[in-house]
Amino acid sequence: MPFVWPAVTVLVYVCSKRLYARTRKLYLTPLVVTPAVVISLLLLSGSSYDAFDRGAHWIGDMIGPATISLAVTLHKHLHVLKKHVRAIAAGATAGGLAAVAVSAVLARLFGLAAPFMDSLAPKSATTPVALSVSGALGGVPTITAVATLATGLTGMIVGPLLVRWMRIRSSAGRGILLGTAAHAAGIAKAFEYGADAGACAGIAMICTAFVTLCAAAPIMSLFQ
């Protein structure tokens, strides 16, 4: 029954979205609750991941069309982006460079071997970019995929706390913070601050992707 798992996934997602809308608790974000419930159901029912993936992989394939759809957001908010073009370029460049360097330094500090450093370095970029950069550096794409995802989750949960503690008040600043560090998951979070923040996060994600593509190899060569 290939339609059971996608149906379960969508149902759990719809319920967790309602729950989040009502409670507004950061740890109840649908990106934490939905996978947690679906994984529990998988384990309880004794089903394999493959059985889940056969039915539900098309849900993941929709990330592509959703990414392309950000063009509409950018088009509708072009006036906001024009106003913040320098802030976005500065924030995403500084953040994108720092992402590669800081990940590598911390990975070494925590005793992880070189392939782990290469796998973790591009994790702030959007998943397809992170995967291709990781492969080019000599990393393990599987680790990069998991790390990129975990980065998105971390950004969604920690991002709003940093916004509050550091008193980031402009929608541009909030969007840059989330889009640079946490790619599409950060964009989804930024939209909760409004469409302006979401649009800035979208551009920041694109800038970070380009910074990572260009700068990851030269930065990582410093750690040889």
């Binding site: 990330i63 392309i68 995403a92 970019v129």
Partner: protein, 126 residues
């Protein structure tokens, strides 16, 4: 939601899926170093700005897709169950690296962005 609206969203999402496939094939054929979805984003943005693609053709579908973005990450997140040995072996070090570096990157990006915005007399100093 009216049936009319649902049909419109479905058709527009179909159009966007076709556009994604086309841009993925183009990126592969041209051997571009950027992924198809980023190429498609830039191409669709250009087409909207040039008014070759009208906003009304895709607006409802695109906004629906963006609003459901978190759902599309769920299968990949569930995929973590496949990496149990990796998580047991190096999970703590990996998690510590991710947590700390993501927080540092967000602080750097957020402060740089906020400062640059303020320097130009933007909306920052509210």
């Amino acid at each position: 939601m009216k049936t009319n609206t649902i049909v419109k969203i479905a058709l527009q999402v179909g159009f966007l899926i076709a556009g994604t496939r086309a841009s993925e094939m183009a990126a592969e054929a041209l051997r571009l170093p950027i992924p198809g979805s980023i190429l498609g984003l830039l191409a669709l943005f250009a087409l909207l700005e040039l008014k070759i693609v009208k906003l009304a053709w895709i607006e409802l579908g695109a906004e629906w897709l963006v609003a459901q973005m978190l759902l599309f990450f769920v299968p990949a997140t569930v995929g973590i169950v496949r990496y149990k040995p990796l998580i047991v072996e190096s999970g703590v070090a990996i998690l510590a690296t991710i947590l700390l570096s993501t927080a540092i990157v967000m602080a750097i990006a957020g402060l740089t962005g906020e400062r640059s915005g303020r320097a130009r007399g933007g909306e920052a100093a509210s």
